[in-house]
Amino acid sequence: MSDDDRFITRVPARPWSAAETSEGRQELIPASSGAASLERSVGSVLRLPEGAVDSGQIDIERDDETMIINMGPQHPSTHGVLRLMLELEGETVLRTKPVVGYLHTGMEKTGEELTYVQGATNVTRMDYLSPLHNELVFSLATEALLGVELPARAVWIRMLMCELNRVSSHLMWMATNGMDLGSTSMMIYGFRERELVLEFFQKTTGLRMNHNYIRPGGVAADLPDGWEDDIEIICDTVVARTYEYDELLTGQPIFRERTEAVGNITAETAVALSATGPILRSTGVPWDLRRAMPYLAYDEVEFDVIVGTYGDNFDRYSIRLNEIRESIRIIRQIAERMPLGDYRVQDAKVTPPPRRRIDESMEALIHHFKMFTEGFRVPEGEVYVAVESPRGELGCYLVSDGTSKPYRMHIRGPSFVNLQTLPAMLRGGLIADAVAVISSVDPVMGEVDR
């Protein structure tokens, strides 16, 4: 069967019975051998539009030996509401189709209804494990359109908070990954350390999650008094604990056997499937936007980009563990070099007047009112800005028509794209390892479905 034949529209008499459901036919298309078909199935394409398959060409014998099981969307290990359709031959996974959209709330559409001032509250809810990165990418995109230059302190506070967020996100991943592999102690430990960081977030931003702290024009508030001491405690504790994780997991034979050479992916496949973040780095590609295309002041701090070799679960685990240490290294440098000055740009166009001015000045009151009802106008244009979130490249494509609301706000979620690597990683592996592999992709469904 040639490649194009598969797309000829015919109405087939299907020998198998496919269940009609309210969501259409729930089935996988029959597999065929051949390189083109293989490429397509690792590219996660399993279902063709109805009537696109010629039934005469289907090897029914082979089809009988495989079983399709449905995993999720309600499954404790699918990290939210991810659903996978797995084609199994015995215990071996052949093809996988991730089915997403169960958490879709139309946040890109909502973003068009909110002003740039309100926009950060919307995007922060997308990737709920690294909310500050979402706010950062939205704010950077808005600032790029506005053309404002931030004061140094605002830039360094942003860096500090984002690195702390990377630590908390990776700790959360360590916890859930431990749970997926049966190590409930790791889960407790991961949450325990994450709590340290969240407490600092609460102290600084007022909230544990969904902070709306990084806003266009700077950050919402200055760091609290005595923040250096808090940072010191977080750094010392987390670094010491990462060595405990080493004892608990890294050197442990059971853990290694369950993660080494499981869920392998090659650099070529990862690049072709647009994977970024720890997945791409685990294959040996040293691609980290903080190093490759520095934003904020990442070109002024020292850190190493952690890369793996084999592209397996263990590499992705070690990358995340070591990235916690690298982030702590960055945080220590930031704490040492934190510049003094304003924490938001002193441009009346994008920054509301300080609270005390409102009591004494009518203009300040009007200005404040206008800022929070109408917002500020952003010059016409379009821009794409990307930052390195804990999961990979988090991009924001922002189109402005000159009003105070984005004309179009598109968020390139790293989890959404990284999920496409699942079929490639799971292929040929055991169904028992599927849970570990899903975990190693670190999908956050809030960002996948947006």
Binding site: G24, K109, A272, L273, G381, V383, H410, F416, V417, L419
Partner: protein, 163 residues
């Protein structure tokens, strides 16, 4: 193929974040343009999205590019040279379709499905162009500008319409 700096597309040129090259391709040579860019070292297609310019038809475009209702925006990334390029294609309302990039970049599979789902752009040759985020029996494409932000009727509220 028209190569334009970012400032011609309307964005301020002074910001460092804004230095990406922008390529305007016609629908006819869209696929060839992207293939050419891939051959010159853009290994990864980082992002693909579409924009509906229904209520903002007048926008700054270089000479020779006629504005259409839809625009497909492809972000390519060169890992070796550390640079990005953005390909923008005008797509008319009467025939909202462009060739798929799946054969060049398999990673566009989900992104093209999202653009189809949200804006109703058809990607010709895409192996599985079905809805990805909305339910499969959903009518309409929510990110289109003429798709109203409605509200679902609730039981106890005789509430006024949205803002």
């Amino acid at each position: 193929m028209t190569l334009a700096a970012a400032d011609e597309s309307g964005a301020p040129a002074d910001s460092a974040q804004n230095k990406d090259a922008v390529v305007f391709a016609s629908r006819r040579d869209y696929h060839a343009t992207v293939a050419e860019l891939k051959a010159t070292g853009f290994e990864m297609c980082v992002d693909l999205c579409a924009v509906d310019y229904l209520s903002h038809p007048v926008r700054r475009l270089p000479d020779g590019v006629a504005p259409e209702r839809f625009e497909v925006v492809v972000n390519l990334l060169s890992l070796s040279e550390k640079r990005r390029v953005r390909v923008r294609v005008q797509v008319p309302e009467s025939d909202p379709s462009v060739p798929t990039l799946f054969d060049l970049y398999p990673g566009t599979e989900a992104m093209e499905r999202e653009a189809y789902d949200m804006l109703g752009i058809y990607f010709q040759g895409h192996p599985d162009l079905t809805r990805i985020l909305m339910p499969e029996d959903w009518e309409g494409h929510p990110l289109r500008k003429d798709y109203g932000v409605g509200r679902v009727p609730v039981q106890f509220k005789d509430a006024p319409g949205p803002r």
